[in-house]
Symmetry: C2
Subunit: 407 residues, 2 copies
Amino acid sequence: MLIAQSGGPSMVINQSLVGAVLAARRSGSGVGKIYGALHGIRGILDGAFIDLRKETTATLEAVAATPSSALGSVRHKPSAEDCLAVFRRLRQRDIRYFFYIGGNDSAETVHILHEEAVKNECDIRCFHIPKTIDNDLCGNDHTPGYGSAARFVACAVKGDDLDNRALGGVKIDVIMGRNAGFLTAAAALARTEEDDGPHLIYLPERPFSVTRFVRDIKAAMRDYGRCVVAVSEGITDRRGTPLVAAFTREKDSHGNVQLSGTGALGDLLANVVKTRTGITRVRADTFGYLQRSFPGVVSPTDALEARKVGEEAVLAAVGKNMASGSIAIRRKPGKRYGVRFEVVPLHCVAKVTRRMPDAFISPEGNYVTQAFLEYARPLVGALPPCARFSQLRRCGGGPTPGKRKKA
Amino acid sequence: MLIAQSGGPSMVINQSLVGAVLAARRSGSGVGKIYGALHGIRGILDGAFIDLRKETTATLEAVAATPSSALGSVRHKPSAEDCLAVFRRLRQRDIRYFFYIGGNDSAETVHILHEEAVKNECDIRCFHIPKTIDNDLCGNDHTPGYGSAARFVACAVKGDDLDNRALGGVKIDVIMGRNAGFLTAAAALARTEEDDGPHLIYLPERPFSVTRFVRDIKAAMRDYGRCVVAVSEGITDRRGTPLVAAFTREKDSHGNVQLSGTGALGDLLANVVKTRTGITRVRADTFGYLQRSFPGVVSPTDALEARKVGEEAVLAAVGKNMASGSIAIRRKPGKRYGVRFEVVPLHCVAKVTRRMPDAFISPEGNYVTQAFLEYARPLVGALPPCARFSQLRRCGGGPTPGKRKKA
C-alpha cells in the first residue's frame, strides 16, 4: 500500500496516517510493504517514498501526536498524464492500495485517479481519508482536524475576551474559513457567562453589511461596555465580493488607500468602527496559520476520530475489498455523543464545499444558535477553566448575543 | 491594604494578585481589610473597590489560573492632583499599604505616588509587583509573564515550522516587543533538531538591513530548502526609524502604496522576499494579542514565580516594615536553576527599559546565542514533544542558524 498527505496541515492529520499504518500492520498478510510518499502526489511522481514498516511503534505514536503533515504536503491536481505516471510508479512497486489524506481537493485527486485507473484497467484501490480544519466536506457530520482547530479558536477568543474585559474597547478577531463559517463559529464556545464575548460573530454564509455591523457594535457597547467580534476571513458583500475588495473599489473613487495584505480585513473593520462610532480603543488580530498547527492544543475526540478514519480506510480497502471511497463520520442520534464511520463514494466528497446550515446561524446573521453550540461542544472538548471574582460576576438577566438587531 | 493591576495583561498576572492576597490573609493582624481597585489607578480615583476578603480560597485559586487582569487594567500616569485624590481615597478607608502589579510604567506610577506621599506626609507604603511579557524591567533577571508568553511564542513557531516543513517556502512570524527582543528571541526554543526553524531571528536591538535580510533568506533556502523567520515588531533601520515607516518614506517617491495596519511589517517583509528572490510561496503572520492571554499555555516556573513576587511584596511591606520598593527576581549562580527575590528601590525599575544583552545576540545579528537558550529554557519549561519519522531526520553536520553571514 501507499499513503500520502495533501493540502493544508491540521493538528491531527498524523493520527490518520498512523491509524492507517498500524491497521495495515495488523492486517497480517493483507498488506505487504507500506510506503509513504513525500509531499503527496508530487512524491509519487518523483518516486520519493519511505518504508513505513521500518518505523518503530514508538516513533509512529510520537509522530501521531505531532501537528502538521509528517510526510510533507502539496497542492497539486493531477492531469491525465500525471495519472499514467502515477500508475507506472505504483506498478513498479506492486502497490495495490492507495490512501490520500486531505480535504475536498485531495478527494478530487483520489476521484480522478480512481476514474483513470478504471479506464486504464489498473488494479488499484483508491481511498480518501478526510482532513480539514474548515469542516466543509459533504457527507460528513464533521471532519478530523476541525475539533482541534476549533479548540484553538475558542481558547484564543476566550483569552482575548479576558484581555478586552481588562482594557475595554472593541476587539476584532479574523478567523480562517473562506467559504464555510464553522471555524469562526467555534469562537462562540469561548462564552461561558452571560456577558462574556464574543458578542458578535460574522460568517461567510451571510452577506456582510457595514451599516448593520456598526449598529451591532454600538448595541454591544451599550449592553456590555465593550465588544469582542469574531469575523470569518471569507465574509463578502451582498454581491459575493470579498469585503476588502468591495470596500477598496467603493472607496477608490474618494482617493483612499488600497487595502491589502494579511491584516487588511481586520484593519478595515477596526477603521470603520473608529471612524463611525468614535470609540478610540479598537484593535484587530488575524489568527493566521497558528489555527492549524499549534502544538499541544488538541481536542481528544478529534485525535481519536482522526486515528479511526485512517484505520477504517484500510479496513474498507483490505478487509472489505472495496474498490474506492471516502471515510465519512456520521453522528449517532441521541443525547450522548457518538459516531459511526461509513464509506461514501468519492464523488460525494470531491470538490464540493459544505457550508453552515441555516439552523446554526442566528436569524439576525450575527451570531450562532444553541443548535450549533450543541453540535460543536463535543468536538472541541472542555476548555481550560477561567474564573472571575464572585463580586464581578454579572448576575442574571443580561442580554443574549445575537439578539442585537432587536435591541 | 489595596491592590490593583495595570498595563497589558499577562497569563500569570493573577497569580501575583492572589499571591499577595493570600499572604495578607496569612499575616494575621498585620492587614485588616484587603481591597482590590478595578482598572488600576482609575478605580482608586473613582472609588471602585471590591473586598478581597469576601472571595473564597477556591475562587482565588481559580482566578489565579486565569489569564489577563482579573481586577481590570488601565494605562494612566497619575498627575500630582491625581495623587492627592488617591490619598484622600486611601485615608477614607484607612488604607496603609498599596500594591500595584505591572510593568515599568506601573512602577513609575508607584514611584510618583510614593514621592508625593512622602511630600504630603501621607503614611502609605507603596510597592510595585513586577509583570511584563516583554521581560524588559531593569534590576531583574527576568519578569513574571515572560516565561508563559515565551512559551506561547515557542509553541507557535514550533507548529509553524512543522507547517512550513510540509508546504515549503518562506514563513515570517512577527512577534511582540517594541524595544526589547526577549520575546522574539524565545522563538529559538522551538528548534530541537539540526534543520528545524526558526532559521533567522531579527531583534530590535540590532539595526535591520533589508539587503542583508534578503541575503540571509537566500542562504537559508540554499541550506534548508525552506525558511522560517522570527521578527520583532520593533525592528528599525540604522537611524532608529521603525521599518515600516522607513520603507514607506523611502518608497513614497516611487509612487508606491503606503503600508499601515496590523499586518504591515509582515506583509512588507514578505513582499521584499517575493520580489527580490523570486520565491513564490512566502507567508507572514502577526501573532498579536494571543501572546499575552492564551489560556492553558502557561510555564509552571512562571506561574510559581508570579505567585511568589506577590507574596514577597506583602512580606516586605507588612513583615519587614519597608516604606516602598519593587520586588526583583535574581537568578542564583550555579548550573541548577533557582531564584531569590529582592526588594529594589522603585526608581531602579520605573520607566527604564532593559534590552537584550549583547551576549544573547549572535555576532551576525540574525540569531540568538547558546547563552540566551540556556537563560530562557528554564523560564519556559519543556515544550509539547514533536517527532519525525526516523527516515526523514537529517543526520549530523547541517549548518547552524545564525551563521548565515559567513556562508
